[in-house]
């Protein structure tokens, strides 16, 4: 990393899910760990998220999902990122992700899967250790 480089993170709430307490707590924790965090608010479509990633050029995208729509939305987001040639961004999903869904999401390139009760420290370390560039 060149001098002055900051880890840049986009935190999103994809789909019809208005519960963003977790996303906000996470955004603050990452900020307090010295990262630059962009929070995009609730009800983001996959297009919103991909456009944000194109323009903001972050190192990490964190999707907070409590709605159960992860299997439907995450692959679409990954597909659109790929279409735009974005392959050096760590994409993590967290929130309520049942264990049996993880292999499917992993197959699509998603990581993380931090659920309720995860220590914020753990997520900060996860981000620092899994950067793709």
């Amino acid at each position: 990393m060149p001098e002055g480089r900051k880890i840049k993170v986009v935190v999103c709430k994809p789909g019809l899910d208005g519960h963003d307490r977790g996303a906000k707590v996470l955004a603050r924790a990452l900020r307090d760990a010295g990262m630059e965090v962009i929070y995009t608010g609730i009800h983001n479509t996959p297009e919103d998220i991909v456009n944000t990633v194109i323009q903001e050029d972050p190192d990490v995208v964190m999707l907070s999902m409590l709605s159960g729509a992860h299997n439907a939305l995450c692959p679409v987001i990954m597909e659109k990122l790929k279409e735009n040639g974005i392959d050096d961004v760590l994409v993590a999903v967290g929130g309520i992700i049942p264990n049996e869904d993880k292999p499917f999401l992993e197959k699509h390139g998603l990581k993380g899967f931090h659920g309720p009760g995860t220590e914020l420290k753990t997520i900060v370390e996860f981000v620092k250790n899994n950067l793709k560039r």
Binding site: P2, E3, G4, R5, K6, K8, A27, R28, L30, R31, D32, A33, G34, M35, E36, V37, I38, Y39, T40, G41, H43, N44, T45, E47, D48, N51, T52, I54, Q55, E56, D57, N84, G85, I86
Partner: protein
């Protein structure tokens, strides 16, 4: 590093190339130098509009509504939102995109959030460079949203051709807060949230303040005041409602008016000269600071000077003069 491929893609208006170049100029000042060196000749087409105001005055919402109108007119827009970096952790939470959500998908719009990374003045160090990249990217207008201002975050007027300052009714303190620096750099006062009571009183307060200002406005001759001296524009006041878009047509008319004013009076030329002078000064400050820091940490003479100052046989001013001699730039 070779940036020619990215620059070629930038000239082809590729958003990813613009985004990556912005990341590079933010993080690495040496690389920024190389990149600006290659693209500078393509700059100068975008109109730069600065939007500033106290925290909570509605800057993001105002810009969001303005964006909608300008994009519908077929303009290509770049938006730079600057938010503060925590002085304790170095981290930042950038939330301006939340209020600009409805435009995420538009093609002729490029929004970029920036943390100020400790720079005072309401902008980030790299803001000038990012403006240039968005200019070359083909934006007709670049809107720069500053950090929520207090009294001295006035750097925006050195970068923007037109500066709009947002105020809101029923908040008494903001006039107090702005009368020092902000008042003198403003081209357009926007009283936002015009649906709230007290809006006309706010307009009256501003025009009163402007009358007071004009009497001493051109009397100072220090460097920073050169900017005010070349401006003989009388600031306009407009009240708007950012939620409904009411009076935005008037705001845009005033912007046009100001744009033409700058052109007709050829103020824009002296403005541009001052902008270049100031930008270069900033770069010089940065470079010289780096040089001095390097010298101080590596030169053995310095330790001797410090001891002399401790013995009181030298004072810090004289020591500074000796260091300037060492640098050879007297």
């Amino acid at each position: 590093m070779d940036y020619s491929d990215l620059i070629k893609r930038l000239l082809n208006n590729e958003p990813r190339a613009a985004a990556r170049l912005i990341t590079i100029v933010e993080n690495d000042i040496t690389a920024a130098e190389e990149i600006i060196n290659s693209i500078y000749k393509y700059t100068g087409n975008a109109y730069i509009l600065g939007v500033t105001g106290a925290p909570g005055s509605g800057k993001s919402t105002f810009i969001s509504t303005l964006t909608k109108i300008l994009v519908e007119q077929g303009k290509k827009l770049g938006i730079i939102c600057v938010d503060p970096t925590s002085p304790l952790t170095g981290g930042a939470l950038l939330g301006d995109r939340i209020r600009m959500k409805e435009h995420f998908t538009l093609n002729n719009l490029f929004i970029r959030s920036m943390a100020n990374r400790g720079q005072l003045g309401g902008l980030a160090r790299a803001t000038e460079d990012v403006i240039k990249i968005l200019d070359v990217y083909g934006c007709d207008i670049v809107i720069v949203e500053t950090v929520g201002v207090g009294q001295s975050e006035v750097d925006i007027f050195k970068s923007a051709q037109t500066v709009a300052v947002l105020l809101q009714p029923e908040v008494g303190d903001d006039i107090q807060a702005i009368k020092a620096g902000i008042m003198e750099i403003t081209d357009i006062f926007v009283v936002n949230k015009m649906d709230l009571p007290g809006v006309d009183r706010k307009v009256a307060e501003i025009s009163q303040m402007l009358e007071l200002e004009s009497s001493f406005k051109y009397s100072s001759d220090d460097f920073s005041k050169e900017f005010t001296k070349i401006r003989k524009w009388t600031p306009e006041i407009v009240k708007v409602n950012s939620k409904t878009g009411e009076n935005f047509d008037i705001f845009l008319e005033i912007v046009d008016h100001h744009k033409n004013f700058l052109k007709e009076t050829s103020i824009i030329e002296s403005y541009e000269k001052n902008r270049i002078k100031n930008e270069t000064l900033q770069i010089l400050k940065h470079k010289l600071t780096k040089k001095v820091e390097k010298l101080i940490s590596s030169n053995s003479e310095i330790e001797k000077y410090i001891n002399l100052v401790m013995d009181k046989s030298l004072d810090p001013y004289s020591m500074a003069n000796l260091i300037i001699k060492l640098l050879g730039i007297e």
